[in-house]
């Protein structure tokens, strides 16, 4: 079982994990994900690979506590083993070289920019990371990203650090010519609403944009079809055809509706876990 080598709380609800997984580290590419399971009877959840170190044989993931399973993951510490880690799954992000690549990270989605920015900076692209958070305390990985790209732009809703406003406003300024300039390619990773807003921002000015879709998945290997996303009117499996798709072709309404299919059950599972934890605490 893959062992956790290092953990760090990034915010009260997000946690950073470095995991010993040499085979996954050896073949991982930006944009891919792993499937995790943390207990017998547990569900399989897809988590984006934030970074990898081929020499050390490790992968990095950042998990946000949103439901019962992610809460269970975040209870793990260095030295613990994860029951199942399978990957890397999905396709890698492919962008023609030589342009200005702008990665837009919302919330814990910023983590996935680590390997993305490193890869594109290393091959000589100009790179900008725009990181968005509600406030300074919720901003993650800005210091880690600085050495990996040419520019890091920080946006907070309350203006507690960096630009006061949404990532899309800063992105629009750049497209209009503000420093560091109009990107040739945008990759947005984060909450569905943020990715949709990015898609709308880049649609008019026709800036090529990829979004990393995060639909409900059961197996993650193409077997269930539960992760199908409507892209350009066609059903695509996020696990094998994605998870990154042309943002201007994705039907976000359908994607957001499909992601809510199990909200009631998700809440039930979370309440149950909280209740069990409370009972144990007493």
């Amino acid at each position: 079982m893959p062992r956790i080598l290092e953990t760090r709380r990034l915010t009260p609800v997000t946690k950073y994990f470095r995991i010993d997984a040499p085979l996954i580290a050896a073949s991982a590419q930006p944009g891919q994900f792993v499937m995790l399971r943390v207990r017998d009877g547990g569900e399989r959840i897809p988590i984006t690979i934030a970074d990898y170190d081929r020499e050390a044989g490790t992968i990095t993931i950042v998990v946000q506590e949103v439901g019962a399973t992610t809460k269970r993951v975040c209870a793990l510490e260095a030295g613990d083993e994860i029951l199942d880690v399978a990957g890397p799954l999905g396709g890698k992000i492919e962008i023609p070289p030589g342009g200005h690549v702008c990665g837009v990270g919302g919330g814990f989605g910023s983590a996935a920019l680590l390997c993305l920015m490193r890869t594109f900076t290393a091959r000589g692209d100009m790179t900008t990371a725009i990181l968005g958070a509600r406030s300074k305390d919720l901003l993650i990985l800005a210091d880690e990203l600085r050495p990996l790209c040419n520019n890091v732009e920080i946006c907070t809703d309350d203006g507690s650090v960096g630009f006061k406003g949404f990532v899309t406003q800063r992105l629009a300024q750049m497209i209009a010519g503000d420093w560091p300039g109009r990107p040739d390619h945008v990759v947005a990773i984060g909450p569905m609403a943020m990715m949709r807003a990015v898609a709308e921002t880049t649609r008019g000015p026709a800036v090529k944009t990829l979004v990393s879709m995060d639909p409900l998945m059961v197996d993650g290997t193409g077997m269930c079809g539960g992760c199908r996303v409507n892209v350009g009117g066609k059903a695509q499996f996020a696990c094998v055809d994605g998870p990154c798709f042309d943002a201007h072709q994705v039907d976000f309404d359908v994607a957001m509706r499909r992601n809510k299919a199990y909200v009631k059950e998700e809440k039930q599972a979370l309440d149950r876990l909280t209740c069990m934890a409370n009972r144990e605490a007493r």
Binding site: G87, T221, M223, R257, E266
Partner: protein, 483 residues
């Protein structure tokens, strides 16, 4: 002198009203006296045509005779020698269209219940201490098996018997493939699968889960990096097909693969004790009429659906499900809408399934598949009110491995091109079998292919013919790395 009795001894089954609400096995299995009685119906023909109907040529009259004479150990030995998964095949094989269809008794009476007897012998075997111990590796060449479904399990077992160190790589977190995620507990209890896997473990076969060949490791790396001398691909046909009709992305529409995986592999019936939920409404429509459709429709009853129905554009004559499954479904109260073609899934107004719009069909001339072509009847559209639609219209091979492997040829259906006898693919020392080659078929065909490929791998490695070993040669003998 064998005693002729016209009727096949019926399989004892649990009461439909009871079993339709739990996941315990439907068929209870023969008692010793029923098995003895049934085994005496076999005529022990000079020319046992039943064997011709069996894809792996089980010595049917011989094993049945052993049952009749009380030599259970002998019967078990004979069965297992030709079919390494007898307890599974005794339950899921379509005997009525294979061995039992050929049985001489059918000239005047019912066939001998070969499948029920196979199951009886295999179940007896599981009550005995295992007769197979650790195999001693007499060969130095390591062989890898990709996928732990029926073809992979059988291939690995045969290779171990031939003296090879064998490792099975499974993409999911548990071994068994379709036997684990697809076939429900009420038809194939997981304990039987676990027992078979335990037997392989005892023989020394290593099973590594959570490794996706084509992603975690490429096929070429299996040779170059991992040092395998040969590879068997048994990756099945796991990619679900969709109809492409409007409304297919509404919440509540699932592939049968998703529905069954949530329940069988992920234990969705146990939510919230297990973490994977599955939403089953009051009325569930399952589209299709194969075994997977029957599994899905009967599972939805067990998950609490008040009404479960099959929607199929042809008639019951063209249905591909086993007769036994069809009868069990009828007994359990499944409703059948024959000659009904789904046109659109209707939104209930909140993004969930509210109904299934269909059209009545009539049958015309046979089409390319040899089955009567369904023709729409104009103006016959109607809506069936349902809360779930489950699509069981077939699966195709998963492209994960072929997409990342150069030189591995597939046909236009995505199936691997492999030699019918040996399973050799377009790449040297890479063999394949089961649904990955044939498209969705049966457990026994996959098992047969796995067994033949194991022998072919042995022949290729022993013969050492230049070319048979391929240009890749044998890589460095890498020790098993960390996963």
């Amino acid at each position: 002198m064998p005693i002729k009795r016209a009727e096949k001894t019926p399989m004892p089954v649990r009461e439909p009203q009871v079993r339709a609400h739990d996941f315990k096995e439907v068929n209870a299995g023969y008692t010793a006296s029923q098995a003895a009685f049934e085994s005496e119906r076999c005529l022990r023909c000079q020319d046992p045509v039943c064997v011709d109907g069996c894809p792996v040529s089980v010595p049917i009259p011989e094993f049945i005779h052993a049952v009749a004479t009380g030599d259970m150990a002998g019967a078990a030995r004979m069965l297992r020698a030709s079919n390494p998964l007898p307890a599974i095949c005794g339950r899921v094989c379509p005997q009525e269209s294979q061995c039992e269809a050929e049985c001489s008794m059918t000239l005047r009476f019912n066939s001998v219940a070969i499948g029920h007897l196979e199951r009886y012998v295999a179940d007896w075997e599981r009550t005995q201490p295992p007769s197979i111990g650790a195999m001693i590796s007499t060969r130095t060449e390591k062989v890898a098996v990709i996928g732990s479904g029926p073809s992979g399990l059988v291939c690995a077992g045969e290779l171990a018997r031939l003296g090879y160190p064998v490792t099975i790589y499974e993409a999911l977190h548990a071994a068994g493939g379709v036997l684990r995620y697809g076939i429900p507990e009420f038809r194939l209890p997981k304990a039987i699968l676990d027992w078979e896997i335990g037997l392989l473990n005892a023989m020394g076969v290593e099973i590594i889960c959570n490794v996706i060949i084509g992603k975690t490791l490429t096929l070429d790396e299996m040779f170059n990096k991992m040092g395998y001398a040969a590879v068997f691909i048994g990756t099945g046909a796991g990619l679900p097909q969709f109809l492409g009709i409007p409304g297919e992305n509404l919440n509540g529409v699932m592939s049968a693969n998703e529905f069954l995986t949530r329940i069988n592999l992920m234990r969705g019936y146990d939510f919230p004790d297990s973490d994977t939920p599955v939403k089953v409404g009051k009325r569930v429509a399952v589209i299709g009429a194969g075994n997977t459709a029957m599994d899905a429709v009967r599972t939805s009853l067990r998950m609490g659906a008040e009404e479960a129905l099959i929607v199929y554009r042809r008639s019951d004559k063209e249905m591909s499900a086993r007769v036994e499954e069809y009868h069990h479904a009828i007994e359990e109260g499944v409703k059948f809408n024959w000659l009904t073609n789904p046109l659109e899934v209707i939104d209930d107004g909140s993004g969930w399934v509210g109904g299934l719009k269909c059209q009545k069909m009539k049958l015309g001339e046979p089409d390319a598949s040899g089955r009567a072509r369904p023709i729409p009847i104009e103006g016959s559209e109607f809506v069936i009110p349902v809360e779930n639609v489950v699509l069981a219209i077939g699966t195709t091979p998963n492209p994960l491995l072929t997409r990342t492997t150069s030189g591995l040829l597939t046909n236009k259906k995505g199936c691997l091109v492999a030699d019918e006898k040996t399973g050799l693919t377009s790449k040297s020392l890479v063999f394949a079998g089961g649904d990955a080659v044939t498209g969705a078929a049966t457990v026994i065909l996959a098992a047969g292919a796995g067994k033949r490929a194991a022998q072919a791998i042995h022949d290729a490695l022993v013969s050492n013919v230049p070319g048979a070993r391929g240009s890749q040669g044998v890589g460095p003998q890498a020790s098993t790395p960390r996963f």
